[in-house]
Assembly symmetry: C2
Homo-oligomer: 283 residues x 2
Amino acid sequence: MALVEISKYKSFGGFQKVFSHKSKILGCEMKFGIYLPSQIEDKKLPVIYWLSGLTCSEANFIEKSGAQRYAQEYGVVIVNPDTSPRGLNISGDKDNWDFGEGAGFYVDATEEPWKKNYNMFSYVTKELIEIISTNFNVIEGTQSIMGHSMGGHGALICALKNPGLYQSVSAFAPICNPSKCAWGRKAFEGYLGPQETSNWSDWDATELVKVYNGPPLCLFIDQGAADKFLQEEQLLPNNLVEACKIAKVPIILNKREGYDHSYFYISSFIGEHIKHHSGYLQK
Amino acid sequence: MALVEISKYKSFGGFQKVFSHKSKILGCEMKFGIYLPSQIEDKKLPVIYWLSGLTCSEANFIEKSGAQRYAQEYGVVIVNPDTSPRGLNISGDKDNWDFGEGAGFYVDATEEPWKKNYNMFSYVTKELIEIISTNFNVIEGTQSIMGHSMGGHGALICALKNPGLYQSVSAFAPICNPSKCAWGRKAFEGYLGPQETSNWSDWDATELVKVYNGPPLCLFIDQGAADKFLQEEQLLPNNLVEACKIAKVPIILNKREGYDHSYFYISSFIGEHIKHHSGYLQK
């Protein structure tokens, strides 16, 4: 698991770096971003994982979120992986912006030709955590997860399917109920097979809260009220809220008037999210 | 001078917008970014102009600087124009990344085939100010200017050549002495003609401070100590400092250990610069 440092930029007193490594689980070279606050030179720090949305690589969050300022302020490492395997040239992996490369959907695929490589869920929750623990001065097991859109869905299912693995979870404009929206149905159909014969509910936050059985976990959800994908019913936060009510899983849904789906929206509230996680990570 | 709104994103409570308009001075369609803090709905606000560096359009600063947070905090509008005329298809305007499109150098060209259109100095200091005053709720004449690299050079010469027009000026890693560095010499040769027969010193901050004769003006300069273009002698801040000493023009040069030339560096200190200007603009 040798890491190759691809880039290194001083930022807000710490360093924003990008590394590549050969992923066993994905069977390809993968890149991730990591922000290392200056405090890491003196002590172990907790980690927040960020999962990006459709079409993103590791670059978008690093360049546009402004998260570094808050990571330095609160003394947390932020790790952000790419959104899918890359460079495998699987037939069809570049034909769609919402399926294949840039659109791994944070599931473990069961269908051909995806099942060998498209296992972003295991990559994020196992291999990446191990790489970070092994190679950086972090507090092992003290970590949270957040994400945006497809990555918000990813953060929610990673937390709900691994009770206790993450101290807290949050999401910006997550795809809350992928079994019921066009993006999710397309991805699940391709990676998991037809709904009738597959366990889509194992990968859908709205279904997973209904069977969540673990330490107390509050879902911290952020949603721009002017988000066109909300209006197009790709995100369906109300379905998640309803399921949480029934399952008695606490959820906070912050609706932000006038905000859309972009990084201009994310950067406006990323500080609040990092502060939120920091409260759980530094108890 | 009709403005066309190209995009609009809510950001930190205000709006980040991009407009296009037909520029008389440049003879082409031009775009600029403008951040409008929420306070502008109730009162007139001062303006800070940002001039970007080589290869940039209006997008880089908007997406990567994180300036919106501070503009909202201090209640200032930020306007950032493109770095050159676009779409004119002048022979050679796309052959170089450091000359022609994306590299207007903020001068008024005197040489063919550039002199008709490549007049970014007049565009920034006259036409753009008029457009902003006419179309937005700003305090006329209460403005500052800052920029990065080629745009830092631009900010310095705009302020030094127009005593009193800007309340304050600052620059990140500016090209301080373009007559003496490769980037500057190439641009000046092309836009202004050979050094022997042209007045390069009229467009060079290090020369202009020597003849500055106007209201007190302190040059607030920021420079990453690990900037490779500093090492390659493209920026030459010490020449400007020496000239300021002789001319008794106050200058502050902040050297930032470990920082390079990127937007990771800019975003780390843009808040300090906006605070600095705000002190002058809100007296």
